[in-house]
């Protein structure tokens, strides 16, 4: 009996915690635009990737390590880590925007597939968890940078292919208008 009581109390506390969380405003709400022209936000960070890769290049670091004092090398390393963290944060922003696009498409679709929806939910939760671990690793100086290129490539390709798919369907303008209206209302309004 006491176990059941404890479980029920835990269930109620969990429900109340979820209720509070459900009422909290979403952090990514302010970031409205995600569908746009070629230089739209979804591809913005890909544009800077060349410069970032140059800043992170192994050759430059080796050159610096061979000639500069240890203090400067350490400082350069810290700067690289900081840039990596910033870049990763921005990439996550891109990722969130694309996820949001997918959610809006789901909401505006007359039929959705349970398997696709659950898979996306599972993946986004897993990504969010792993992203935090990677960020923690970067902050702690445990991880290094080259693999960021793969991450960036995927996000950019996703943005590009989705845009292409919408063009192909010939409904991009209508959808963009609908989405823009929706986003301008900071979400999907119901009364």
């Amino acid at each position: 009996m006491s176990t059941m009581l404890i479980l029920l109390f835990v269930a109620v506390v969990a429900l109340l915690a979820l209720l509070i969380w459900a009422f909290l405003p979403r952090r990514d709400r302010g970031d409205k635009a995600f569908l746009g022209p070629k230089d739209g936000p979804a591809r913005q960070h890909a544009t800077y990737f060349g410069a970032i890769r140059q800043a992170m290049s192994e050759e430059d670091f080796d050159f610096l390590a061979a000639r500069a004092p240890v203090r400067m090398v350490r400082r350069a390393h810290k700067e690289r880590q900081r840039i990596a963290v910033l870049y990763l944060t921005e990439l996550r922003g891109d990722f969130e925007r694309l996820l949001r696009l997918a959610r809006v498409i789901s909401v505006l679709s007359p039929e959705v597939a349970v398997s696709h929806e659950f898979e996306r939910l599972r993946l986004s939760m897993r990504f969010s968890w792993r992203y935090r671990i990677v960020l923690l690793g970067l902050h702690a100086g445990l991880l290094f940078l080259p693999q960021l290129s793969g991450l960036n490539q995927i996000v950019s390709q996703l943005a590009f292919r989705m845009e292409a798919a919408m063009k192909e369907l010939g409904e991009r303008a209508a959808i963009a208008a609908e989405l823009a209206t929706t986003l301008n209302r900071r979400g999907l309004d119901v009364c």
Binding site: M1, L5, L8, F9, A11, V12, L15, L16, L18, L19, A22, F23, R26, R29, A65, R74, H77, L98, L99, R100, A102, V104, I105, S106, V107, L108, S109, P110, V112, A113, V114, E117, R120, L123, S124, R126, F127, R130, V134, G141, L143, F144, Q147, G150, L151, I154, Q157, L158, R161, M162, A165, M166, L169, E171, E178, R185, L188, D189, V190, C191
Partner: protein, 262 residues
């Protein structure tokens, strides 16, 4: 009626006045036509109060008649509350056909699972069957409302303030009832009077919240969203999921990175 105590009587009177005021407000501001199930629920609670007032006044609080009428009316009220929750779900997710279809199945499954869990957890206590069933229904109701709000949050569906208040009131009252029923099960005899008073106080709080929500005419659902062609979903969403899977794989590789140099 003396068995109930002054505070309970006062709360009872206050609750009845607020129920009538809310019901009047719902009808006068034409919210009753948009929210018929919720209006029916408020009417049922008012009718239950009146009925219990008469029965307890005639036969006493501890009589078998009061017990029977109390529980019978309570299950009718719970049924009407379940309909009010279903109405709330339809108001929030209804305009979005695909998501609503998905949500309905999930809410129903979750509600039934939670109800059966609560029933199974106390199956050996037959004398508490009614309380346990009520607790299961309340827990199921609270779960469905929380899931509804999580769904709305996940899909970026903005819930209008009156609906938020309605959901909040229904969920809080259900959670309170679960806690109350649980404690009642444990300390059944000596706790009954306090249980009644606490339950009425909580319901009074919810009535105030709902009165605030419906103090003016709640606007009808915004313009129905123009739904996309079925092909858009089928074309884009699998692509997104595939990309997300690849992205997830990339994140795994972060763990296999070289250590930073000194």
């Amino acid at each position: 009626m003396n068995e109930l105590g002054r505070l309970t009587e006062w709360l009872w009177a206050m609750t009845a006045i607020l129920q009538m005021a809310l019901l009047f407000s719902l009808v006068a501001r034409r919210n009753a036509s948009s929210y018929p199930a919720f209006s029916a629920y408020i009417f049922m609670t008012l009718a239950q109060s009146g009925l219990l007032f008469v029965v307890i006044g005639g036969w006493g609080f501890s009589s078998l008649a009061s017990w029977g009428v109390g529980w019978a009316s309570q299950f009718l009220v719970l049924g009407s509350r379940a309909l009010a929750v279903a109405e709330l779900c339809r108001h929030i997710l209804g305009p979005f056909r695909g998501v609503w279809c998905l949500a309905r199945r999930i809410f129903l499954a979750a509600g039934i699972i939670v109800l059966f869990y609560a029933l199974a957890a106390a199956a050996h206590q037959w004398r508490l069957a009614l309380t346990t069933t009520e607790m299961g229904l309340e827990l199921g109701t609270a779960t469905v409302i929380v899931l509804l709000l999580l769904f709305a949050r996940y899909y970026d569906i903005v819930v209008a303030p009156p609906l938020r208040m309605l959901a909040l009131g229904l969920c809080l009252y259900s959670c309170f009832s679960v806690v109350n029923d649980t404690i009642l099960e444990r300390w059944l005899n000596r706790y009954a009077a306090i249980w009644n008073t606490c339950g009425m106080a909580a319901f009074l709080g919810c009535l105030l919240l709902w009165s605030r929500a419906f103090h003016k005419t709640v606007p009808q659902a915004a313009v129905q969203p123009v739904l996309l062609d079925r092909g858009v979903y089928l074309k884009i969403i699998p692509e997104v999921n595939w990309r997300l899977r690849s992205l997830d794989q990339q994140l795994i590789q972060f763990w296999r990175l070289e250590a930073p140099r000194a």
